[in-house]
């Protein structure tokens, strides 16, 4: 069972991505910022995290570091609206499995998530 945590400060995006994955048989939980996300992962065993970089109350980079520290098995996909190579490198160093730029191609989003399921090691970097 694939489970995705969508972290984005825009409620609309959370709802959309939730419904989008639900329709494809993927369970989704959502959080509006890094703090909320860290709270939510506590009781999760295996998760694929879709993490927006720019958010109030703990941005994506900080959240990425903490998630990787607390749940090293989780797969994290960073999402941002700027094509920032430095940020991309930094995310990679911090252990992110993939990096998507908004506006994104939904098909790619689906593919990247499917390729990054914890325990299923054919990560799509």
């Amino acid at each position: 069972m694939i489970k995705v945590l969508v972290v984005d400060d825009e409620q609309e995006i959370c709802n959309f991505v939730r419904d989008f994955f639900k329709e494809r048989g993927i369970e989704v939980i959502t959080a509006l910022n890094g703090e909320e996300a860290l709270e939510m992962i506590k009781n999760e065993e295996e998760l694929t995290v879709l993490l927006d970089i720019r958010m109030p109350k703990m941005g994506g980079m900080e959240a990425l570091r903490r998630i990787k520290k607390e749940k090293p098995r989780f797969k994290v996909i960073m999402v941002t609206c700027i094509d920032d190579i430095e940020k991309m490198e930094e995310a990679k160093r911090c252990g992110a499995e993939a990096y998507l730029t908004k506006p994104l191609v939904l098909k790619e989003l689906l593919k990247v998530v499917m390729n990054n399921v914890p325990g299923n090691d054919k990560s799509g970097k």
Binding site: I13, N15, F16, D19, F20, K102, P103, V105, L106, K107
Partner: protein
């Protein structure tokens, strides 16, 4: 800026009026406050009128926003959205959407790359799945995939059709309508399923297809306007560059004259400064039609006014004693020589005559032409005052300078004879402003 705002208001007003008009005809509301789609032509009328008036507006995104809103409300769809080609992303990006939250595509979140099945199908326009209006319907695609006979006929196409269906599924789209301008795919209107569960009919799709192409035209028009504006700006920058080159060349020439005449060091730049300061007092003068233009002409003319001195012999120009009659005749030639030197530069236009006339007197007793009053170019009359003021307020080998205040009095005394009274008045006004006038800081502004 102001004009833009006005357009915005106008636009809002037109939009409100159109919608109000539409509502006035058949005010049927559902309990939720939404308008019932009782008369299909009504919303079309609103959209058509708006898009026609919209051609004139600069921002087609406003038109798109309104269309998307009206479709969502009047056609009552689960969601609808518009993808537009964006060069920055080299993709078709969702720029607007409306509908149920969670179902509609979030604005700015979604794009379709050029090689996506939907874009390819619309670009190629060859697929048998495209209907007579150019649209793609999920229904037709699904039907084809379920029809073994049909699929057989489309050998090898099954995979392609499946990908197309999967993309339309991903976009939750029931109908996709392309917008072309001159065969170029500019965007796509995405229509989700209707809330009523009804299918889209041919008539509706035809209407949306026409609408999409109207919008494409509005977009192209606005892009043309934008590119024209940037061209105009570019030309402006080039013009400014040329203008500065011209002024700096004039400054260099002026420096050459000053260098030859050590006694009058800085004379040209001071005369230029005074002339421009006098002109600043004459903004309202009837002689000046276009002030900026006039100032520019005066600027260059005053820089070049003494250029003819290049043609006067050194021993006369640098003479420490008063000049003899003959020598004076030589010096007077510099006005004509200056004009002759500049005459090959056709771009100087009237400036040449201004240079020639800077020693003319208002009463007609000056040189070289003996012109009087209005016959003397107005800039020459200004330079004439500035020139005399600087000459008498700086030391010359054959005489001492006089105090500024005395020079002003002298010039006032000659108002109407040597000088144009209008210019003298402006000169006095400028002088009375004090410091700024008397401390020439001219360095080629």
């Amino acid at each position: 800026m102001k004009k833009d705002k006005k357009n915005k208001n106008n636009w809002k007003e037109i939009q409100n009026q159109l919608i109000k008009k539409c509502l006035d005809v058949k005010p049927h509301f559902t309990p939720s406050g939404r308008l019932k789609t009782t008369d299909k032509l009504n919303y079309r009328e609103v959209i058509e009128k708006a898009s026609r008036s919209m051609i004139r507006f600069k921002k087609p995104t406003r038109l798109i926003r309104m269309i998307v809103r009206i479709i969502a409300e009047q056609v009552r769809v689960l969601h609808t959205g518009v993808l537009l080609y964006r060069e920055k992303n080299n993709s078709y990006v969702l720029i607007d959407s409306k509908g149920e939250e969670g179902k509609r595509l979030p604005i700015g979140y979604v794009r379709l790359p050029l090689d996506s099945p939907l874009i390819t199908a619309f670009m190629e326009k060859k697929s048998f799945l495209i209907d007579s209006h150019g649209a793609l319907l999920l229904e037709k695609i699904t039907k084809t995939l379920n029809d073994a006979d049909l699929l057989k006929k489309q050998m090898g196409m099954e995979h392609k059709i499946k990908r197309l269906k999967s993309e339309m599924d991903i976009l939750r789209s029931e109908v996709c309508i392309p917008a072309y301008y001159k065969r170029k795919l500019l965007g796509i209107l995405i229509l989700g399923p209707k809330l009523s569960g009804e299918k889209y009919n041919d008539d509706e799709i035809g209407f949306f297809a026409t609408l999409a192409n109207d919008v494409a035209m509005a977009i192209t028009n606005s892009q043309l306007i934008t590119s024209l504006q940037s061209k105009v700006k570019e030309i402006g920058v080039l013009y400014e560059k040329e203008r500065r080159l011209f002024i700096h060349t004039s400054i260099a020439l002026a420096a050459a004259i000053d260098a030859r005449d050590p006694y009058t060091h800085g004379h040209t730049s001071r005369v230029t400064h005074y002339s421009l300061k006098i002109a600043d007092e004459l903004k309202q003068a009837p002689e000046i039609m276009d002030y900026e233009n006039f100032r520019e002409t005066l600027h260059i003319a005053s820089l070049l006014h003494d250029i003819g001195k290049i043609g006067v012999r050194d021993n006369i120009l640098n003479k420490a004693d008063a000049l003899t009659g003959e020598e004076y005749i030589e010096v007077k030639k510099h006005a004509d020589i200056g004009a002759a030197i500049l005459s090959p530069i056709k771009e100087l236009g009237g400036i040449i005559e201004i240079v020639r006339a800077h020693h003319e007197r208002f009463d007609g007793t000056g040189y070289p032409g003996g012109l009087e009053a209005d016959e003397i170019p107005f800039p020459s009359r200004i330079i004439s005052v500035a020139d005399v003021f600087d000459t008498v307020t700086t030391d010359r080998p054959y005489r001492k300078k006089i105090p500024d205040a005395d020079a002003v009095k002298e010039i006032e005394k000659n108002s109407g004879t040597q000088f144009d009274p209008l210019v003298v008045q402006a000169f006095v006004d400028a002088y009375n402003r004090g410091k700024e006038f008397l401390n020439p800081t001219y360095s080629g502004y």
